[in-house]
Symmetry: C2
Subunit: 344 residues, 2 copies
Amino acid sequence: MQNEKKQLVTMEDVAQAAGVSRMTVSRALSDNGLVTEKTRSRILAIVEEMNYVPDQMAGSLATKRSGFVATLVPSINNVHYGKMVQSLTDALENTGLQILLGHTDYSAQREEVLVESLLKRRPEAIVLPFDGHSKRTVTLLKNAQIPVVQLWETPPKPIGYTIGFSNRDVARSMTEELIQLGYKNIAFLCETNDEWTRGAARRAGFKDAMEGAGLSAHRMIRFGQPPMSIKDGHFIGSNLKQYYDDIDCIFCVSDAPAFGVISALKEQGISVPDDIGVAGFGNFEVSRFSNPTISTVKFDAEELGRVTAKLITDLLSGDKSKTKLPKRYDINVTNAMRESTRQQ
Amino acid sequence: MQNEKKQLVTMEDVAQAAGVSRMTVSRALSDNGLVTEKTRSRILAIVEEMNYVPDQMAGSLATKRSGFVATLVPSINNVHYGKMVQSLTDALENTGLQILLGHTDYSAQREEVLVESLLKRRPEAIVLPFDGHSKRTVTLLKNAQIPVVQLWETPPKPIGYTIGFSNRDVARSMTEELIQLGYKNIAFLCETNDEWTRGAARRAGFKDAMEGAGLSAHRMIRFGQPPMSIKDGHFIGSNLKQYYDDIDCIFCVSDAPAFGVISALKEQGISVPDDIGVAGFGNFEVSRFSNPTISTVKFDAEELGRVTAKLITDLLSGDKSKTKLPKRYDINVTNAMRESTRQQ
DNA sequence: TTGTAGGCGTTATCAC
DNA sequence: GTGATAACGCCTACAA
């Protein structure tokens, strides 16, 4: 069955087998209605029989349409990014657009390398998280002549389009809610090296709220590399007193460490939320089934993917309404207050 | 800065700016040492200045090397597949190979469509999970003239190379271990429609062990679509009696439902493992920090990615040792017995 | 060390 | 409706 060492079947092969020219095969395949139904079905039968699979690279070279959407995420192995990529892929499915994925590992350096390498594939659009970009990354993006969509955080100076929310505002809002519940000595738990991460923006929001309420924002616990894990949270929870001995609430940069903190506190007989309140970020599924359930900042990563897909297809559709599309889309974010924090 | 509407810079443009031929630019870029250091650095400076990014599609068309490795996963939004993809990507990073990702959503139909669409990009190898393939998928794979690597489950009739383990053997082993702990009325919790999933193989292993020990394997709870979630497990845990009222242990198809089952049992005051034991599959991080910690089947998805990368690069390196590479690689799998099951 | 000619597999364009 | 020809942007092979 397998054609050992033989060249792959080409459009020319199909054409010869069908006794027509390549162009007729090409037309039959693209189904423009420009070919007699009779010859078309004959050609398709031969295509089937010969197991011909068109070479899209050659096609793209001719049409100047790669069909790629370059997509960067900090990490594939993270629910939010995974969901976003999956919903983006799904929403793009019937548009002939395909995702070209890369992960930055939360590094601006890697991002730069990746952007350049993806650009070589001539994507028709590029989607990437905004955490600040290197200068060269910005130059590359600006010169690429394709729509640029920055996700998750709304940048101060967007390159093209922006879809997301202000991590600072959102973290401020959650912190304010914690303050309202009566917490005063709130700690913020986040990674080290998050300058280039949305963690830094969340830290700033935390500070805003605390200082706005006349409270001290000095209880800042920084630990490990992004992304923070359950294990990291567990470690911090187990050694909390060594950081600050008067904490009455911990706001964690993600639900994973929040879960870890809670499990560590429980091991020490510290009650959550009676002794210490815990809040997370991201609404992981585990937070709704943990005991206690975890208060968290909630947003819909799949919506992000869908909105992104819609934007891209609109932009690429080619009609001049393109210029009219809003440059900025905001995603809805809410605080889901649950059992791991005091009740009102 | 941005060249409005202008064509993208091409190699010819660079060549003209440098006063050399395209070939010299090409050589300077590929750094073969075939160009005078002086002209080379001059060219590179111009490349930089003009923000030239080579068109890899055109290059691939000429070299017949796309640099793509087509990679399928059932779902991106799953720790195991995420980790595997990430480690595969990382391990491939400096080989000039790039992943072209697709997710099947646990559907043979989608897999077939995806395989065909990915094959159009002329990948140099294709990696995909084995859960059984459609007939046409197999034909496409066999005709693609590239290495085929089937992951996770070792197929009865491998197409090319295989990396993974026998889900049946592994599930049998865990079940045997549960039986040894004294459990008799063990239930198996899995999805409906898992015929085309490795869940079916695990079911078979469960049955093997139960019947091998003279026990009944009839306590089979099937619920929802793959992948099973915490929520699904929670639902089952909440309604356990409606399925079977004499269960003393539940073996779940993944750690997610196991976590959900436990949380539901705890809500009802049913003690784990004293009243009912619970075991999962996959060693999710949450299982080590849940209370009780969850007994589970443990394997290393990242190792899978690394081994796959190694195999592919070996295969593509071109030396004839290629034919000598083993067709089958087994991944190490162990039972991690923790607090959610009785102690020995 | 550099350049020229030709081709990779497809499609746009313009004849027929 | 169908075919011939010329790109698309790069690299191989060979020549200088």
